[in-house]
């Protein structure tokens, strides 16, 4: 039971978890990313590559399903204008095994940071705006999932 959605609108974490809970796994790990107010940030514009985004995310999910015994995966990634406190991304994974659920969830969010075609432009209270730079710690986070 795989569900991947790329959408402008918000989502309901409780409803997403409820769907995954119903799949019979004993372990359900999830991650939600939200817009923080760091440095006076007001909102951000999340741009993406419409023709490619869904299949890029689906490929990442397929890799997770290949590596871990998963009963269900849900990924939602928003785009468009997002203000402080808004949800950006949801990852939920259910498995019979706790470690599999936790690891696959971490794998997916790490890969979404570096392997899905999204770009964030932040706007601040003082009028500044900037494109978020990719950061080395994200590359390092993904590097640990590269199989020998």
């Amino acid at each position: 039971m795989i569900s991947v959605r790329i959408q402008e609108g918000d989502f309901d974490p409780g409803a997403e978890l409820a769907r995954l809970e119903g799949l019979g796994g004993g372990a359900l790990a999830s991650f939600i990313g939200l817009v923080r107010s760091d440095g006076g940030l007001i909102d951000m514009e999340l741009e993406h590559y419409p023709g490619m985004t869904l299949k890029a995310v689906e490929a990442i999910v397929a890799e997770a399903v290949h590596r871990w015994p998963l009963l269900g995966v849900g990924v939602i990634h928003r785009h468009g204008r997002l203000k402080v406190g808004d949800r950006i991304v949801f990852v939920g994974v259910t498995s019979p095994r706790r470690a599999a659920a936790l690891e696959a969830c971490a794998f997916l969010i790490d890969w979404l940071k570096t392997g899905a075609p999204f770009w964030k432009r932040e706007r601040f209270a003082d009028g500044r705006a900037r494109w978020v730079e990719a950061c080395a710690s994200d590359d390092a986070a993904v590097a640990r999932w590269v199989e020998a």
Binding site: Y49, G51, A56, A116
Partner: protein, 85 residues
């Protein structure tokens, strides 16, 4: 055959549009050479493509390194490193 180019994030902003259709001259057969050819147009193109270390690419909607071939490609996208999640 025309090649569809797509620009995202600050590459799009520097160039001033989200994409265009181009006919590549002979010899433009990798992403790298395509970037060099576009940069020669000057202005926003020169600005967008000044530092290749800050550029990433997808050919026909798959991420590729900059030395990848574009022979036979229908769509090439040029953009900064992604920052999703």
């Amino acid at each position: 055959m025309p090649l569809e180019l797509l620009y995202f994030a600050w590459v799009r902003e520097a160039i001033g549009k989200g994409g265009e259709s181009v006919l590549c001259p002979d010899g433009i057969d990798t992403v790298d050479s395509l970037i060099g050819w576009l940069a020669q147009r000057g202005g926003g193109y020169a600005e967008a493509f000044a530092d290749r270390a800050r550029l990433r690419a997808a050919v026909d909607q798959a991420f590729v390194p900059l030395d990848a071939s574009i022979v036979g490609a229908r769509e090439v996208a040029l953009f900064p490193p992604v920052t999703g999640g």
